[in-house]
Subunit: 142 residues, 4 copies
């Protein structure tokens, strides 16, 4: 499980006074950096070899500017050339947003999916989370 | 069915050379303006009374800067205080992205959902789409 | 002079209830598309050969969601490998924002500036604006 | 002087493979949070009482995804109801971007500027920077 602490930015709010729902995808992208590093250790954008096939969001409670946000990210499942992630957003002792996504290991020159190499699969497997999800509030800091 | 034509902005691309997947939610928000107007005819942000409960995206093909994008939006279903939308993105003769969302008629002061009034429901019902979805390419301009 | 009409997007507002000041740069980038086309007629992002060296913004009045915005863009000056633009934002009969920018004709492989070719210079020169700037409200639709 | 360390987000890049120039304003807004706290200690967006009147940017070198960015922020000058800030962006041992902005202490209900109270002025004055600006690379970590 990966943990990211994010300080909401004022520009990420909208006229409803809360974080705009388009912001969460940007936060989750930031939260996937540890996973990107497994595929591209130097994070060189030119070597980027992942693409998103699907994602979904459930907005459970509003998130506000001015208080830090905790994002938990887990690997749910690993396929031949794809893997499934789940994200959860917590603020001020509340679970606020959950999200799932499917990422594909992808060759951008050939425009086709590529089998995940064994050494990367092993790293991803270390992060498969088999406990109850989303993480309970009392377990947030563990 | 609502049709929006959007010119992708250069800042909406990312280092992979295509439209970043976080851009689609912003386009769909723009595409919902006709639906917002049913609820708030003058579009005064202070009267905004909708909130998103859920959304999902399927990324089928890349979208690029420099060519216009057609977005089709339909009402799928209307509940007591919520309704379901679907969006589809087309560029250059391809279906590129599909999305579904659940919107809730919401009182932001009381922080609770509100039944959709009859005159608004009637307007929404006019936009329920019962044909095959997503719209086929040959029917895009109809 | 180039004219763009933009519909503000809800996600472009912030918690102050107005358009966030980081939005204007994105609108001006969209407004420069006619200028980009002079340099890259097919707008292929891979051929992009402009870079911004400088920009400034003066925020004169708030802009709101729900009413269209008119953006006027002019060429102010053309140098050997650079040129100066000015933008102005109008909403609801008010001048709201002005901006200036310096763009450089740039070779991204060699990472150096490139002299503006004669046929492009001629096109740019057609758009040099020598009247009073920013355009007066009564002249907005001319 | 305030120091912020920011991890560039993939969605902040553009098709040129570098950080899009519209991203810097968002980073500087994040970097102003320490200054916002002087005015609104609990950072409640509803109490927000600052507005930007002017800003400018000089883009000196590209910034890339995958390496952290250091942002230095100083108070340059304090007026009756406004104050001037300067920001500088460093990555990988290079000064990449500089920026100046003018912020106004503002009453959003009455839509007018408000004199900066004495206790806030004293806090701002502690951050006036009178050394050579932008900070030299060898002094970045001091």
């Amino acid at each position: 499980m990966f943990t990211n602490v994010i300080q909401p930015r004022f520009s990420e709010t909208d006229a409803l006074g809360h974080i705009n729902n388009n912001t969460y995808g940007i936060w989750f992208e930031a939260a996937r950096e540890s996973i990107y590093k497994i595929f591209i250790p130097d994070l060189d954008a030119k070597k980027f070899n992942l693409i998103m096939a699907h994602c979904s969001y459930d907005f459970l409670a509003e998130v506000f500017f001015g208080k830090e946000v905790i994002i938990k990210t887990i690997v749910e499942k690993i396929g031949n050339s794809s893997f499934n992630l789940a994200h959860a957003v917590y603020q001020d002792g509340h679970l606020c947003t959950t999200s799932k996504s499917v990422m594909i290991h992808f060759n951008h020159q050939k425009k086709k999916s590529v089998i995940i190499p064994e050494h990367i699969r092993e790293e991803l497997e270390k992060n498969i989370y088999t406990h109850s999800w989303p993480v309970k509030l009392q377990d947030l800091n563990t």
